[in-house]
């Protein structure tokens, strides 16, 4: 049986269903990200696991124990809060000791635990400081050390990096992941930041309005999104609406604009749907090349290492193209006539 199992978990507030039939199995040592836009139910799910919100329906199992009826302080689950929730009237040391004292750990083993987690997060010289005397990143580390000292069965993170600046955020991502790997602890990480989820997690659970939209590795979700929501939320994509038809024995996707795209689809995929093409899978060729879609560049945007171009096709569709900058190759300009082409294998057919 899975290390953490959420079975049919639902939460209803009045008439609003916040989480609906949430089923998830997490293996020991796995790092799973709960990803979704605000209001998708990811924080509510986390709070149900921590015990602060009672599920309307369903069960939570950790290590073959049904913890659903247990109060928060009886679940050995460590939660790192978005605002860290450090006790302002206690020093770093006292913050870490608080949990150990709650579990009636004796002085000698307690001091040892405190010492080792302080070392683990690199805060040994700051033990006697108060939280207000620490930077955001250091406070974050204290919050982490405080739960790690208890050797929790499960680590929960509630958007813990959203209050840090961009550079520190990237650094803390790596640090959290390193600690989690070293300690082999199972972790659930709530975030609305797809990049955070993709860089940190072994698996991503993408949520849409209280339901699981898709579960998989970053690669699986990016390359094989199952719905338009997933394709649009993880990365960006060009969407063409239309339907797959058979033209002279070949399967062709015909858009409403009249654009025809050679589709990569299973033989059973016929009928109305949407084709998604990632902007980096599209290539520029000369406007009169065979099979190329002619168009004109309307906008060129700097993204740093890549350029993003908005291209209006002759047939009317607007297509976003991303191109890696290369040495000795001039950037394209707005107004330039271009042809676009892409491989059928790089199209994603999403059934309506």
């Amino acid at each position: 049986m899975a290390y953490l199992a959420l079975r049919n978990l639902s939460k209803v507030y009045g008439t609003a269903t916040v989480v609906k039939d949430f089923d998830l199995s997490v293996e020991a040592g796995e790092f799973v990200a709960l990803l979704g836009p605000s209001g998708c139910g990811k924080t509510t799910t986390l709070r149900m696991i921590a015990g602060f919100v009672a599920p309307t329906k369903g069960e939570i199992w950790i290590k073959d124990t049904n913890v659903t009826p247990l109060p928060p302080h009886r679940r050995n689950v460590g939660l790192v809060f978005q605002n860290y929730a450090l006790f302002p009237h206690m020093t770093v040391r006292a913050n870490i000791e608080f949990g150990l004292k709650s579990h009636h750990v004796e002085a000698a083993p307690m001091n040892k635990s405190v010492g080792s987690v302080l070392e683990l997060v690199g805060l040994t010289p700051y033990a006697e400081r108060y939280p207000r005397e620490l930077s955001g990143g250091q406070q974050q580390r204290v919050a982490l050390a405080r739960v790690l000292a208890l050797k929790p069965d499960l680590l929960l993170f509630d958007e813990p990096l959203s209050n840090l600046d961009a550079k520190l955020r990237v650094q803390m991502r790596e640090e959290i992941r390193r600690l989690q790997r070293e300690l082999g602890v199972t972790a659930l990480f709530v975030t609305h930041d797809q990049e955070e989820a993709m860089t940190m997690a072994d698996r991503i659970v993408l949520l849409e309005r209280g339901r699981i939209a898709q579960v998989g590795t970053a690669e699986e979700i990016y390359d094989h999104p199952r719905t338009r929501f997933v394709a649009g939320f993880i990365g960006t994509a060009n969407f063409f609406e239309g339907s797959i038809v058979s033209v002279a024995g070949r399967k062709v996707f015909r858009c409403k604009s009249g654009l025809e795209i050679e589709a990569h689809a299973e033989s059973s995929d016929f009928g109305a749907g949407t084709i998604a093409v990632r902007p980096e899978k599209i290539e520029f060729v000369s406007p009169d090349a065979t099979h190329a879609q002619p168009g004109v560049i309307r906008q060129a945007t700097q993204l740093g290492a890549t350029m993003e171009y908005a291209v209006d096709l002759k047939l009317g569709d607007r297509v976003i193209v991303q191109e890696q900058k290369r040495p000795r190759v001039a950037l394209r300009r707005s107004g330039e006539q271009v042809g676009l082409t892409w491989q059928a294998a790089d199209t994603i057919f999403l059934r309506n």
């Binding site: 015990g51 302080h73 939660l79 009237h89 608080f98 949990g99 739960v147 208890l150």
Partner: protein, 257 residues
């Protein structure tokens, strides 16, 4: 401009402090009625205060009454403040207004209402009745001041404590209470002073056996004019400073740092 501002400040300060200075000064004067500036120096009015059994007795009654009422008001007020500061309570503003209503009524109206009610249920002229009345009058002050602290309190700290394995008792006594203590203490000190000072309600409800210090002083000044009252006032001023200053500097200044 700056000079004028300073002058106005000085006048206001003088106006606030002068009566206190006069009272303290006259307490040490030898004349049989308070005159300022005092003549000579004596401690006999202090001795008179301490050696008059009715006055000493009334001090004891007042202290017991105020301590009991303040304890009750602090417990009730803190609980109410915490409940009101948290979201999701039905009729929150109605409850809040009701809790504060005793300070909105004129004291004499409240006193009469309590007298009528307490006579029915046999609480008039009893210590219990006085405690009940005082608690009613001073609880709003605790609620108001504790609420200010409780509203600043971040509820996720309680969740963090529980997440770290603390029971609700441990969470309350180690996290919630220490963090809202400044407001509670300020409320308690304020409530104690209000209770010790209370005259109108006490005058109507207290029997002959329960003459508090304010009642004794009130009666005393009607028949005599010697500086014993100044001596009592001086003792009270010193006592308030001794209690008030440490509490305010220790617990209330911390919040500004």
């Amino acid at each position: 401009m700056k000079g004028a501002f300073r002058l106005v400040n000085g006048v206001i300060l003088l106006y606030l402090l002068a009566p206190i200075v006069v009272v303290i000064a006259t307490a040490f004067g030898t004349s049989a009625y308070p005159i300022f500036p005092p003549q000579g120096f004596t401690l006999k009015w202090f001795v008179h205060f301490w050696s008059t059994p009715e006055l000493r007795d009334s001090l004891r009654i007042s202290a017991m009454l105020s301590l009991t009422s303040t304890t009750l008001a602090t417990i009730i007020g803190t609980g109410s403040a915490l409940a009101l500061a948290r979201h999701g309570i039905r009729g929150k503003s109605a409850i809040s207004t009701m809790l504060l209503s005793p300070i909105l009524f004129p004291a004499i109206v409240l006193a009469l209402a309590l007298l009528v009610a307490f006579q029915r249920i046999g609480l008039a002229q009893t210590f219990t009745g006085l405690v009940a009345a005082h608690t009613l009058v001073i609880t709003p002050f605790v609620v108001r001041l504790a609420m200010a602290s409780a509203a600043e309190f971040d509820p996720s700290l309680e969740e963090a404590a529980q997440n770290l394995g603390a029971s609700w008792q441990r969470t309350f006594f180690r996290i919630t209470l220490p963090l809202i203590l400044p407001g509670i203490l300020a409320g308690a000190v304020f409530a104690f002073i209000m209770s010790f000072d209370e005259l109108v309600v006490t005058l109507l409800l207290a029997g002959p056996a329960l003459q508090t210090l304010p009642i004794r002083i009130f009666n005393y000044v009607q028949y005599s004019s010697d500086p014993t009252i100044s001596a009592i006032s001086t003792c009270l001023i010193v006592a308030w400073l001794a209690i008030g200053i440490p509490v305010y500097t220790r617990f209330l200044s911390v919040r500004h740092s």
